[in-house]
């Protein structure tokens, strides 16, 4: 392999980590918020697909990428609110509801998104960070999604809010001890519905990054399990919004290996390399979970870790 190929490959993987990592970051932040309140939302996969479609449709119809982003986030919040409300009903299990919403969200997105497969929508602008380099591969790799800095600021803000604010404390209390929240006169269901809806809004930004930045078009294979990987990613990040940043970059990089190898002409095993993020997620789970033991940092009321 020549030096140029190595540079292209490295740039491809780093650039991929930034591009592919952005949706991971938003979805994992959304899931982190939801899980902190004591509820798991497996339906974020559905939220991601639906919001990706809504963002693309919104941008296509209004001509403004930012209105598209807003459409995506609102669509995500609506679907997540449905999850939050359903789970508050007596005897309704949050894991099963998540699976149902995965189906409903995907179905709605495919149905409503049928006319959107052909057209082009205005894209989210990029921020060029690579102008110092002569290599075009490096320059194109460092054209980052304008939403990515928003995500990083959001992660820091969430970390600060969980630690320092009244709202953050309420969410954590609902997640760690519902009885304590009830004893203080707060509605646990209310807090959880709000946290789930806000989580859906944040995850919707991830959906918007998919269709309005990279890969930048709407098709029915736009997300294959990123929403679910994000659930695993939150476990890996031990429910810390700051660690979600690193985890998202790591997973984005793993997801970029296949396309990066293809760009330097290695076409063998394309589908195999595309399974790397899933295999990687499983390995990470093996490393971070222990049988019969609760993962450190997990909210006490969470049904998936109990």
């Amino acid at each position: 392999m020549s030096t140029e190929q190595v540079i292209t490959l490295t740039a491809g993987i780093v650039g991929g980590a930034l591009r592919v990592g952005a949706p991971f970051l938003f979805v994992s932040l959304g899931e982190c918020l939801t899980e902190k309140s004591g509820r798991i939302n497996l339906g974020l996969e559905g939220v991601l697909v639906l919001s990706a479609m809504a963002a693309f449709g919104g941008a296509y119809l209004t001509g403004s990428p930012w209105l598209g982003v807003l459409c995506g986030a609102v669509a995500g919040a609506l679907l997540a609110t449905l999850h939050g409300v359903l789970c508050s009903l007596h005897g309704v299990n949050d894991v099963a509801t998540g699976i149902a919403l995965m189906m409903l969200g995907t179905g709605l997105a495919f149905y409503l998104g049928k006319p959107l497969i052909q057209p082009q929508a205005p894209q989210i602008p990029f921020i060029p960070l690579g102008n110092w380099s002569d290599s075009s591969a490096v320059r194109s790799a460092l054209q980052i999604n304008a939403l990515l800095p928003v995500g990083i600021v959001l992660a820091a803000a969430m970390w600060w809010a969980f630690a320092r604010t009244r709202w953050g404390l309420l969410v954590r209390m609902a997640g760690d001890s519902a009885n304590a929240a009830r004893a203080l006169g707060y509605s646990v269901s209310g807090i959880r519905i709000a946290a789930t809806a806000a989580g859906g809004f944040i995850a919707g930004l991830g959906g918007a990054s998919l269709t309005l930045f990279y890969p930048g078009s709407w098709n029915e294979g736009i997300s294959s399990g990123q929403g679910l990987i994000a659930v695993a990613l939150v476990i890996f990040a031990r429910w810390s919004p700051l660690r979600c940043i690193g985890a998202a970059a790591l997973f984005g990089g793993a997801g970029a290996i296949g396309p990066a190898l293809q760009s330097v002409g290695i076409g063998w095993g394309y589908h195999l390399f595309n399974t790397l993020p899933y295999v990687f997620t499983l390995i990470i789970l093996v490393l971070s979970c222990k049988p019969g033991q609760v993962v450190p940092g997990s909210p006490g009321e969470l049904s998936s870790t109990r």
């Binding site: 009903l89 005897g91 309704v92 149902a100 409903l104 709605l108 095993g269 589908h271 899933y278 789970l285």
Partner: protein, 348 residues
Amino acid sequence: MRKLLSDLALPAGAIFASLLVFGVFEWLAGVNPIEVWLLLFKGAFGDWYSWQNTLQRAAPLMLTALCVAVPARAGLVIIGGEGALVLGGLACAALPYAVPLPANLAGTFLICAAGAAVGALWIALAGWLRQYRGINETISSLLLAYVAIGLFKHLVEGPLRDPASLNKPSTNTLAEGLRIGGIAGSDVHWGLVLGVAACVILWLWLRWTPSGFAVRVVGGNPRTAQLVGLPASQLIISACAVGGACAGLAGAVEVAAVHTNANASLIAGYGYAGILVSFMARHSPLGIIPVAILFGGFGAAGSLLQRRLGLPDASVLVLQGIAFVLILASEALRGLNWRALLLRRAPA
């Protein structure tokens, strides 16, 4: 008795409600809902042709639903049946590459067994990861399904590809004698019998045998299981393997009876629809039979909706999603004391 009544009434009510909601959704999309309902019924159960289509789709649904139901009885939520299905189908198509097979019933049995074995291993892996590594089985089974699909595409488009399949990469076509044929000359293949038989046998197993009872104890109350010394991990992993074998068999049947080789058409979402079927049947293997026929019917009607009204093929997915949400929501109504509610309201 009362329990049976609510077991039947709640899902039936949820289905009617979801048809209603689906009708409203189509009405909002500018389609006459009455026409949609009529076509749904006609495409699913209207005539013998529709019935054949329905039953053809019901067969894999029964088997993939068992992949959810049996582990669920042991207390696990497995949603990766799609992975076991595609690998089962692949194993079935790939076995003739490895060993010369007799082109008769024995050969058919062997390719089906290969599919079931691979499916069993795949889902048992999710059970093993949960018992010995503490990994949530819902997440791991779905991740494994994506890995399975990647593996499937790699092998079908690479090492196992039939060079003659140009536009649609496929494996070699199965010999005529290995395929599963129709029942009495119809389009309904013997896979339906396999599906019904699997449902009945697993129902008998769970209901009447000591090991089936042990699985239900482990699922119902893990602490009791521990106290009476049941080998929980073995039972859970076996339940996963049994479920996975069913899903693998579903893939093998689809290949041997419908597609005749393994190609991307096999990834049709039966694994995911099976989750819905199993939840609706409350994870009862016997209940799965009618529910699978119902949803097989909706699947069959989907293509009619597409042809007649020009609706997107995702209509069926939307209907499935609505039905799933309402089925779960109907659980909130279970066990309500209706008489007390009515009496309290009546005097006012």
